[in-house]
Assembly symmetry: D2
């Protein structure tokens, strides 16, 4: 999957770690509600596993079991290890401050909103819809 | 207050009864979140006390204390008693099925969405934002 | 109903006001969980409507509709108006600080625990059971 | 740690898997509330990691990071792999049906309550206190 291939749709990219309590309790359930509330033709929900701590505790085999057990229904990519330090590449490229983070990318592929931590569904739903309404 | 005076803004009209558990637990807190999430220039939140049962239990003096104790920050109107039967006039005019009900009226004054019972914030926030985006 | 008639059982007395948000959101649901978790032969749950503000907003007809709508399954008494000031008699006699308050009375009729505000179910369940275990 | 060494105290043994959603959302927070509500001299809370599926996804290094991130304050043991099949030894010895499971052991070391799935705090707090009251 590439972001380029999603051009034309709004992308809600949820960066998380499987052992981050705020991601498990808030971020991932919210991403699933985004996935349920919008039309797939309008909004693509994508998870990104951005491990920046406890790397050895969250290998691919653990992530796979986690995604299965939590019934994550949208595609999830794995951020590539950083070339220097512990922060993976996409996380560094986007300047993410931690997990959970939510990035909203518009139909033209531009990053339009970037939030870190818990946000209310009302505001997130509104922000995504405003991007959907842009043609 | 008249709906005509709100023309140009999206109106989120929340119909409730002060002794309806679903209104107190879900509907009114959601209306307050709508009120907090959107700009007042874009969205007007209005409450409507549509009493259709236990009329004598919810007089104006009780409603005033209720609105004070629950810190309701948006204006609340009282539906006029029905001319026949127990259902008040606005409730009958809009064909509301009960409480809580949420009506969304667009900038031009047209009723665009009508829901009864609990709805998720994600969908409500999105629906309101889609109307806000219409010019 | 008199407390004397409940001698031999532990009494969980929940003092509330029908327009007190903390009572509706926390105290009364907790009292209902006490009522569901313990044997009626061991624990009597009793509500007490101790109105100390907005007196005219919470008359008996409103309380009756409230108890019906919220499906309160345990008996509820109404505290008698105070002879001086706005605080009702039982509230004054027990020195209650406000609502919600929970009083635990042991099998011998002695007041053993008195709490004001929200308490966790785990601690409340344990405190009641410790009194049940006393013979 | 051995159960024998805990003789004289009530033991609340919480069996869980780190990738079991019901454990993370309900069971472990409840075990932490037990730990906070009772005196350590009266009640010992013990976790037991009983992995019976996705074994390779939950190695010790992952469990350690999980316990750190979720701030688990009570001791956690790891159930020994089963000699036949996928079910570990203690899980098999106690006949546990899955995770989360809560076992209550009295001061004399006898298993007195065994529950599987979500239970309300009120009932759990009461059951533990009844055992605490036994001398």
């Amino acid at each position: 999957m590439s972001l380029a291939a999603l051009r034309g749709r709004v992308v809600a990219l949820h960066a998380f770690q499987m052992l981050c309590p705020g991601c498990v309790q808030h971020g991932l359930p919210q991403a699933q509600r985004i996935h349920a509330a919008f039309e797939p033709n309008d909004v693509a929900v994508v998870g990104l596993h951005t491990v920046f701590e406890h790397h050895e505790a969250m290998p691919p085999v653990s992530l796979r079991a986690f995604l299965h057990e939590y019934r994550i229904a949208f595609p999830v990519g794995v951020d590539a290890p950083g070339t220097q330090g512990t922060v993976p590449q996409t996380m560094q490229a986007y300047g993410l401050r931690g997990t959970p983070s939510l990035l909203l990318i518009d139909r033209a592929g531009r990053l339009r909103r970037h939030s870190f931590g818990a946000e209310e569904d009302m505001a997130v739903g509104a922000a995504i819809a405003m991007l959907v309404a842009e043609r």
